[in-house]
């Protein structure tokens, strides 16, 4: 990023130097204030409010009951949270991880200098990203419908037999994973392509002259050179992957699939808010506590990520 720090800031003509900063720079502060005001009200305040809410049991209608730390005990001892964590991790591993790796490979393929039709491929891969997850879920629901879905029809036609996608735990998880893959792929491809475009082509020419194959080039040049991009994708991909909600919720019509196999952490949290998941009784206190559970999981993941990053950086230097 080219920094132009040498450029002088706009001089403060017509502003007297002896005025207090707030009066001298009120225009600047006013112009940037919306973010801080809104963040205080809808970002920081809820965080504090959440501390209180996690100490009550409340169906949202009557008076909240003070229960102390019971909700946290319930969080770690009830199987629900751990099951939801497990579902989230499974979906993350079979969806988010493959999609990032596949996108990296596709971007490497798409970035070869003489490839024709790159723009068309890029657009086609990106198109699912602009469609609403609800629409995607509805289409996938019908593609993978047990009885009349086109996928099962095709499988039967080639003699493989129908798969009970929507009525088995792993079937639904796989469909959710395919949705995430299909919708996210193009986004990651575009990001990786932009990273690869900034690599000097001479590096590739030199490697090719030295007889390096595609795999070697990907491992020794592309990935190290776009490492900041890889990190960005890994971090944001983890944060969004662990907050997956809409895909499983719409795909299973709000029910969570057989045995609740796609009830993710966010799905469980929203379930306890009383809007979906008929199997749970609304409890806003417990929903908040699940929110804290997600928060802790994400912080742990961030710490883990930064450890991996530092280790990798040492290894490369």
């Amino acid at each position: 990023m080219p920094r132009r720090t040498a450029r002088p800031a706009v001089p403060t003509t017509r502003r007297r130097a002896d005025q207090p900063a707030l009066r001298r720079y009120w225009r600047e502060y006013l112009a940037i204030s919306p973010f801080y005001v809104l963040f205080a009200v809808f970002g920081l305040f809820p965080l504090v409010f959440a501390l209180y809410l996690s100490t009550v049991s409340w169906d949202g209608l009557g008076e909240p009951d003070q229960v102390g730390l019971d909700q946290f005990t319930r969080l770690v001892s009830s199987g629900e949270f751990l099951d939801a964590l497990g579902n989230t991790v499974i979906i993350f591993l079979i969806a988010q991880v493959p999609v990032i790796l596949a996108a990296l490979g596709a971007a490497a393929l798409l970035s070869s200098p003489r490839l024709k039709g790159r723009g068309i491929y890029q657009t086609l891969f990106f198109l699912p990203q602009v469609t609403s997850i609800v629409a995607v879920a509805i289409v996938f629901q019908s593609l993978f419908s047990n009885e009349f879905g086109i996928i099962n029809t095709l499988l039967e036609a080639v003699g493989l037999g129908a798969v009970p996608w929507m009525t088995t735990a792993w079937g639904v998880r796989l469909v959710v994973a395919l949705m995430i893959f299909w919708r996210g792929f193009g986004y990651f491809v575009v990001i990786f392509l932009a990273g690869i475009a900034s690599i000097p082509p001479t590096l590739y020419e030199a490697a090719r002259l030295d007889g390096a194959g595609p795999w070697r080039i990907l491992r020794s040049i592309t990935v190290p050179m776009i490492w900041p991009t890889v990190l960005f994708v890994a971090v944001t991909g983890t944060i969004s992957g662990f907050q997956i909600f809409t895909e499983p919720q719409v795909l299973t019509n709000g029910l969570g699939g057989p045995d609740g196999s796609v009830v993710t952490l966010m799905f469980l949290q929203v379930g306890y808010m009383g809007t979906t998941l008929p199997t749970v009784a609304p409890d806003l206190g417990f929903a908040t506590t699940i929110g804290w559970g997600v928060f802790v999981v994400l912080v742990l993941l961030a710490l883990f990520n930064s450890r991996v990053i530092n280790g990798r950086r040492k290894e490369m230097s």
């Binding site: 940037i32 009200v41 809410l53 198109l127 609403s132 289409v139 932009a194 907050q243 997600v294």
Partner: protein, 275 residues
Amino acid sequence: MRSRRHAWLQHAVLIPAAALFAFPFYWLAVMATSRTSDIFSSPPRLVPGGEIVSNIERLTGSVDFLGAFANSVVVSVTATLLTVAIAALSGFVFAMYRFPGRDPLFAVLLLTMTLPTGVMLVPTFQIYADLGWLNTYLPLIVPGAASAFGIFWMRQAAREAVQYEVMEAARVDGAGFLRVFWHVALPALRPAVAGFTVFQFMWNWNEYLWPLLVLNDQEKYTLPVALQQLNGSHGTSDYPVVMAATLLATIPLIVLFLFFRRQVMSSATAGAVKG
């Protein structure tokens, strides 16, 4: 010779992949233009039919789809304009002005992007309830009006595109703070603003979780919530109607995206590569 074979191999991988990616769209079009009996027939019909008009007629006859469409337009346009305006002004000020506390304030803004906000659903919901905002569009417009990502992106763009000398010239001509923003900064920021606008519009158009949580009245539903409800009520009885609705909800964004392809894809990479 070798490189030509290589290119052929690349297309041999990419063409089937692209076809697989296009297939769900194709199938959506097939089902939205079919009769219910076509969908449940064996073998199924694999090409689009001619029933789209009657499917849309049944759709608008049974639910207020046009109302939901209009709601989505109103909410998305308002929310997007507000977010883009605030991001452009704040980003411009962060990039081009110097004032005490600027850098720490910007660092705080960047830091908030890493905060997992989706986990504080209940307290945020309660705040909306206490403000009397439930069943209104305010929760979908106000809290997101100042986007950290947007401000970051506009600041990057302003650093590259806005010229200090032009600002100074405008100032000498007597232009005030807002006038400099309007006449100097905004024209220079146009490509970035266009990209961010489309990106933000898509995001608002597809937003599902909060509309689901805060909107109770059916006549207030935005498209994603209306679609989900329609799928729940008609999904088993009248599939083509659900598919026609899904198709209609999807087309505007696809058209918008195809028009602004370049800007959208460069917006998508703004945080990843330059950050």
